[in-house]
């Protein structure tokens, strides 16, 4: 294979593998019910060709951007086709694992429900908690940064509290803040607060002695130094924290719904559907959560590139 690819050149071999890749996928899908054993062999072959395709893409120096974009989809295709074929070939009960095609059908068939759940859990619960938690962390970080005594005292205690597992705190917070999204937001605040605090504090401290001395030679005030030096310098850390917290926020809001919720929300839907053995619905919700998470992550990545363009890790 490798020799073939070297002979062909990467561009051409990527172009050869792509149709082959699609063709084998179709064969495997077509054979899934007719001949389970063969279908699985086709899947193995498909995975192999998929790998070769990605490998060829990886060497495609002429268009690294295309490779970066296409390769994840190729892997995704391998997983999805493999899943579909194996579930159908082995006749896995759909109450254990439904095939992707069924999930897609359920997903498109329940868009209004899923949208309502998305609004309830992500927009109301997760986002409000995320924003409040991050702002709170920013405020406390500035305090902690200003008063060394607070840093020495708060950080270790905070560290300890951050270790309190969400499954223990969520029922308590639901008890305190009620069944609606407010309690989910509270859970999210608790979850994102500390990672944000740690990152912002580290970021605010991430200035060199020379930069701080420079500000002293201007006899700049604390707030001037904060605004012109420390906040910008902290931005890369802030984004680090924002990214970590983004996934925590989604997970927190969803999980908190297990401990009481109105009859709408992603966590509620997962729970109720699981009880109804509607696994296709469960997976549809997972898709919503993953898409929401990836979108949020993507937005943060773009924002980061835009605001911390100056950081070496962002320069290209």
């Amino acid at each position: 294979m490798r020799r073939f690819r070297e002979a062909m050149g990467t561009t051409i071999s990527a172009m050869v593998f792509l149709p082959l890749f699609v063709l084998i996928a179709l064969i495997a899908l077509a054979r899934a019910e007719a001949d389970g054993g063969m279908a699985i062999l086709w899947v193995v072959l498909f995975a192999y060709i998929g790998w070769q395709f990605v490998d060829a893409l990886a060497g495609w120096a002429e268009a690294p951007g295309v490779a970066r974009l296409v390769a994840p989809f190729a892997l995704g295709a391998v997983v999805l086709v493999g899943w579909e074929v194996i579930v159908r070939a082995l006749d896995v009960p759909s109450v254990i694992l439904p095939p992707p095609s069924q999930i897609a059908g359920t997903f498109t068939g329940n868009l209004p429900t899923l949208w309502a759940d998305f609004v309830q859990t992500i927009l109301k619960g997760a986002m409000s908690g995320y924003v409040i938690g991050c702002l709170l962390a920013l405020g406390v970080a500035i305090l902690v940064d200003r008063y060394d005594f607070l840093r020495r005292g708060l950080l270790p205690v905070g560290n300890f509290m951050a270790a309190l597992p969400i499954v223990g705190t969520a029922p308590i917070l639901v008890m305190w803040f009620g069944f609606d999204w407010q309690s989910k937001a509270a859970v999210v605040v608790v979850m994102v607060f500390f990672p944000m605090l740690v990152n912002i504090v580290a970021g605010l401290a991430d200035t060199s002695a020379m930069q701080r001395d420079l500000m002293r030679t201007y006899s700049a005030s604390y707030w001037q130094t904060l605004r012109t030096l420390r906040l910008p310098a902290a931005l890369p850390f802030v984004f680090n924290g924002l990214k970590v917290s983004a996934t925590l926020a989604l997970i927190g809001a969803i999980v908190a719904e297990f401990f009481g919720s109105p009859t709408v929300g992603l966590g509620f839907r997962i729970n109720a559907s699981l009880g109804q053995l509607a696994l296709d619905m469960v997976w549809s919700v997972i898709v919503v959560a993953a898409v929401a998470g990836s979108l949020l992550y993507g937005v943060l990545t773009v924002l980061e590139r835009w605001l911390t363009f100056w950081h070496p890790s962002q320069r290209r």
Binding site: G59, P72, R151, V167, I172, T247, V255
Partner: protein, 324 residues
């Protein structure tokens, strides 16, 4: 020497004590408004005159205003049975009772039965610890392997990394019961099923950290090995791996905390002991102190595990000649 340790006390311990004391004070105060409605309802049942008189009216009243209109009835705030917020000493009592007292005097305690009592947090902590450690070991090994693959294989780098990120947006914690059942169907149950969830949660930080770590050697260090015409394996063992050690430990600390959460989550649906089962039990019967006590044990365990990794880190780095 003594001057130094005094200094250390002033710099490290005193602020923590001050913060803890403040938190406890706030906690004690918060207990009053948090529990006021239940306290007043109880008082009403015992015949006291409460303003406003009916529980239904009180439902919509502000907590603080209830506190100020009925100050004389609040004595039992700190000793409520099913408190919304138990007082710190209630939690402490529960902690003490469900560890030391249960083990030393309980019928099933280690003193009288020879094995840890299933009513003590020592036993449940142990159950959770086992799954945590197993999941952590599996997860970290997977994370390291994945990182090696990503660093040494561009195709993997391109295709796997985005999915690793997406994998973390899946609310695995919410799916734990399903995963456990699916694992049942392939013959895995109990410890291994819990450990699988732990492993899922802990592989990601390790993979990300190790990718960073394995890529941390600069171009010059890599070129140096090329001038020796060293092979891939040699460059891994002699350069990339040692260079990644600090990153490895930093991510292991995150991973073990995540692993603990995974184990607890895995214990919720399978009610066979562990801190997770204990928290659920507390929630199920409205025993808030029991949740708090289990929570605190979990946090202490997390702190202990992270400290332990830190200890190994310090020893390893010292053996590797790090500047103290």
């Amino acid at each position: 020497m003594s001057a130094r340790s005094g200094n250390r006390f002033g710099r490290a311990v005193l602020p923590v004590l001050a913060v803890v004391a403040t938190l406890l004070a706030v906690w004690y105060v918060a207990v009053v408004p948090m529990n006021v409605k239940e306290v007043l309802t109880q008082a009403e049942r015992e015949g006291a005159v409460v303003v406003p008189p009916s529980a239904a009216e009180r439902r919509d009243a502000g907590r603080w205003s209830l506190v100020f209109t009925n100050p004389h009835l609040l004595g039992s705030s700190w000793s409520m049975d099913r408190a919304r917020l138990p007082a710190p000493h209630q939690v402490a009592q529960e902690l003490w009772a469900s560890t030391w007292v249960e083990e030393t005097t309980g019928r099933r305690g280690i003193v009288r039965s020879g094995s840890f009592s299933n009513r003590s947090l020592v036993y449940h902590g142990g159950v959770t610890l086992g799954a945590t450690v197993l999941g952590f070991v599996i997860g970290s090994m997977l994370g390291v392997l994945l990182a090696v693959g990503i660093v040494y294989n561009r195709a993997m780098d391109l295709s796997v990394m985005p999915w690793a990120i997406i994998s973390q947006t899946i609310p695995i914690v919410a799916l734990a019961p399903m995963i456990i059942v699916v694992l049942y169907s392939v013959g895995l149950s109990g410890l291994v099923a819990k450990a699988a969830i732990s492993a899922y949660l802990s592989f990601f930080p390790v993979a990300v950290g190790m990718v960073k770590g394995l890529r941390s050697p600069d171009a010059m260090q890599l070129d140096l090995l090329r001038t020796y015409s060293a092979g891939k394996a040699q460059s891994f063992w002699k350069l990339r791996l040692p260079a990644s050690v600090p990153y490895l430990f930093a991510s292991l600390k995150i991973a073990i905390a995540a692993s603990l959460v995974g184990a607890i989550v895995g214990e919720l649906p399978v009610q066979r002991g562990g801190l997770g089962a204990r928290m659920l039990g507390g929630s199920y019967y409205g025993q808030t102190e029991q949740i708090w006590a289990a929570l605190i044990v979990a946090a202490v365990m997390a702190a202990g595990l992270v400290w332990f990794i830190g200890w190994i880190e310090r020893r390893t780095l010292k053996a590797m000649g790090a500047q103290p």
